[in-house]
């Protein structure tokens, strides 16, 4: 296995990859994907990419251009150290100073967290992906070069431009799922440290993956959505979705826009509108049938719940959160309800809670809770037999481990899926595994990053899905449903299924939660879930 021999390798072997994931080092998947020689290969990184950008391993997420002069090299190091210093300043980083200090000061380097990490485990235990590898390098740089403490106390590390560039790149080999933090006996949070490294890069150095920053939060703030949809386009798309959904269900719907004084402002991840239109269509169907007072907003950013800043940049995070809340304030709604998007849930409900004050502090609620309440209210009749196929539930990390939203989605499934057809993944709930697309990976596909994402970060979730359905015939004519109530998770699961050809080979399909509800609605025409691969 190609892997770093020590932490100090981060500064060595210039231009060379420090690690390589080879299928032979990985644990085989369950049948029918258990033949390692049939695993799709990870396409090699092009020579042009290797010579242009900083190289960490077999792929590239961030595209940090190799400095051309020694001055440029030094400038990169200096900017990183300046950012690192700011991380420990109250004015610049009050947002996460206490959790940061905790994780920097108290790690016992016991490695208890390692086995909790799906990326480390599925890489075959490659040292580069050990959750403490990047944390310990950050810690050593901080104590040696910022605090000027003897390396005898906190360990030694060399600092050059390769160290900086590789560390930033390495911060994008972590899904920020915080499963490692859950196992730490002391409370150290390696995912937080990954995010803090990303913050130095973005907030101080202006370095971030294009998909998250330029084509993500910046685009969202400029035109309204990272999908590029303007208010006019999104309304047009929703109109089409309403018509299409009504045709499929036989239930007439019209999504209300900009209704002042509505009870609920519903914000979807705009990716749903573009890629999974049945999801917003299903929401509109259920809300209409339940007789709710609701609206969507056509204000810029307020029709797209995404907030990529939560993965890499506190400022961009705050900007988007403020926009979302301001739109709700202008409409005078009683609460904001977030559609099926995990990171948007956490961003606006939990993390933004200490950003939004005064009249911007409008209550935020999960659609899982609202849909559960609709089921409980009994106004909509469901016929479970319409969902008579095997179903498993993927728990988005942002909803469960980071928000404690565990039971509402299960109560809904209990109401719309026959008991014998539902099976939990192992583990599930707050101990779930990330889909492998968390922290922005699901929308990052530059170079061969998607191959790495499917082969390494997403492999544990695929393994869990296969294990959940192990008692079922793994054939195309025996369809099985992976319910993923999160847009990014759904995108990642779609990509994994495509990568391993699991729909054709094993009949594994995926979708959201509200689609299962509409599929079981007695008043709707049967067959809302069409089992057609899109």
């Amino acid at each position: 296995m190609k892997q770093p021999g020590s932490l100090k390798d981060i500064a060595r072997r210039p231009g060379q990859p420090l690690a390589q994931v080879a299928p032979i080092d990985q644990t085989p998947l369950p049948p029918p994907f258990d033949r390692i020689d049939e695993d799709p290969p990870i396409r090699p990184l092009s020579d042009a990419a290797r010579s242009t950008f900083a190289v960490l391993d077999d792929t590239i997420a961030v595209n940090i251009e190799r400095p051309r002069t020694e001055d440029e090299e030094q400038a990169l190091v200096d900017a990183f150290l300046a950012g690192l210093e700011k991380l420990f300043s109250v004015p610049d980083n009050w947002t996460f100073l206490q959790p940061l200090e905790m994780s920097m000061e108290h790690c016992a380097r016991c490695q208890t967290c390692s086995e909790a990490c799906h990326i480390f485990e599925e890489s075959g235990g490659n040292e580069l992906y050990r959750p403490t590898f990047r944390s310990e390098i950050l810690r050593r740089i901080y104590f040696k070069y910022v605090r000027r403490v003897s390396p005898l106390a906190h360990g030694d590390i060399d600092l050059n431009w390769e160290t900086v560039a590789r560390l930033i790149e390495l911060a994008y080999r972590c899904n920020l799922c915080r499963r490692c933090a859950q196992t730490c006996p002391i409370g150290v949070d390696n995912a937080l440290l990954s995010r803090e490294i990303r913050k130095i890069a973005s907030q101080e150095m202006g370095i971030a993956p294009r998909e998250l920053h330029r084509d993500g939060s910046v685009l969202q703030l400029a035109v309204g959505s990272s999908t590029g949809m303007t208010p006019l386009v999104v309304k047009d798309n929703i109109e089409f979705i309403d018509e299409d959904t009504a045709e499929r269900t036989g239930i007439s719907i019209k999504t209300p826009w900009d209704v002042v004084g509505a009870d609920i402002l519903l914000i979807h991840n705009a990716g749903e509108i573009m890629s999974w239109p049945e999801n917003p269509g299903a929401f509109a169907t259920v809300f209409t049938a339940a007789g709710l007072s609701w609206t969507m907003s056509s204000e810029i950013t307020a029709y797209d719940a995404i907030n990529y800043g939560v993965w890499y940049d506190d400022i961009q995070f705050a900007r988007v959160a403020v926009h979302h809340a301001a739109a709700a304030r202008r409409l005078g709604v009683r609460k904001i309800v977030l559609g099926e998007c995990g990171h948007a849930h956490k961003a606006l409900t939990v993390v933004a809670d200490r950003v939004l004050t005064g009249d911007l502090n409008i209550p935020r609620e999960s659609s899982m809770v609202l849909l559960r309440d609709i089921v409980r209210a009994g106004k909509i009749a469901f016929d479970k037999s319409r969902n008579d196929f095997p179903v498993t539930l993927h728990d988005p990390c942002n909803m469960v481990r980071l928000m404690g939203l565990v039971s509402p989605q299960r109560e809904i499934i209990d109401a719309v899926v026959p008991e014998a057809r539902f099976r939990e993944m192992t583990p599930h709930g707050v101990e779930n595994y990330c889909c492998g697309g968390g922290s922005g990976f699901a929308i990052m596909s530059g170079h061969n990053f998607a191959d790495w994402r499917h082969h390494v970060s997403g492999r544990r979730k695929f393994r869990q899905i296969l294990e959940a359905f192990e008692d079922e015939p793994m054939t195309r004519d025996h369809p099985k449903y992976v319910c993923a109530p999160c847009s990014n998770c759904k995108g990642q699961i779609r990509d994994i299924i495509t990568y391993y050809d699991a729909w054709e080979k094993a009949g594994i399909y995926y979708g959201g939660l509200v689609e299962l509800m509409v599929n079981a609605m007695v008043d709707a025409k049967p067959g809302f879930i069409d089992w057609e691969w899109h």
Binding site: F96, C110, T112, Q203, G206, V369, G429, E431
Partner: protein, 310 residues
Amino acid sequence: MTILTHLVAYSATAVFLVAVAIRIHLWVRMPMHLRWELYPVAHEGARASYGGSYLEESEWWTTPRRASRWGELRAMVPEILFLVALRQHNRKLWTRSFPFHFGIYLVAGCTILMAVAGVLGAWLPGLMAGPLGGGMRVLIPVMGHAGLVLAVVGALGLLQRRRQRPLRDYSAPMDIVNLVLFVIAFSFALVTAWTVDRSFATVSELVSNLVTFTVAPLAGSGPEVMLPCVTAILLAVLAAYIPLTHMSHFIGKYFAYHAIRWADEPNLPGGAQEKAINDLLSLPVSWSAPHIRGDGTKSWLDVATEDPER
């Protein structure tokens, strides 16, 4: 030797208390951070069993929150005493770390018992002559011997583990030195206990003198006095050293749980958090990236509400 022992013991106690107080003060004074809780959260009552939160409730902001302090105790006490998380997630290390930590608890408990016995002996000698005093005189050596043995065995086990990969690759020289210090101090104490002070009578007398501020020579002569005094000096220095290092995680862990992992208190309109948040939002930003251009005069509120450059 008596005077030296007293000087070192008092100084070390002062260093320990001041260092601990400073550590606590630093954690308490930290600014409020953005919410970053991690479930399960122990004070969520029945929901804690599966990791649920109050966010599962319909319109959670309309009903008063009920945080179960009993739930927190039920999680924290076993965690502190038995290192439950380590046992669950790293059994190999737990077999070494648990005896080490539990041994330290027993030695600390034994020392506190000796101090209490010393105070009671000075102020209420009749009480110490009765069954309570008798019980304490039995309990002190039992806790002391058991604690020292467990701590030495645990420290040696941790040293052995730290010499192996992967811990070896991540350990700094001081991680090894710290464990060696524990082995030296506790082993010396063990040798003292086994050779000249099996009943812990001499060291009890020393602790009693210390807590009653009585500078008097200990009963006995030669090693009978010297070994307990050197033991006391070593353990006192070790105690003073711990809060100066990252081993102060015994303080940090409280904040890791209560101020971060379980800190789910919502910011309700007009509530206690609002003013603090508004104050923090007025702090200046100096991040230099092109989309921020923090020049030290723009505040968080300014940058969060401005239109960024593309």
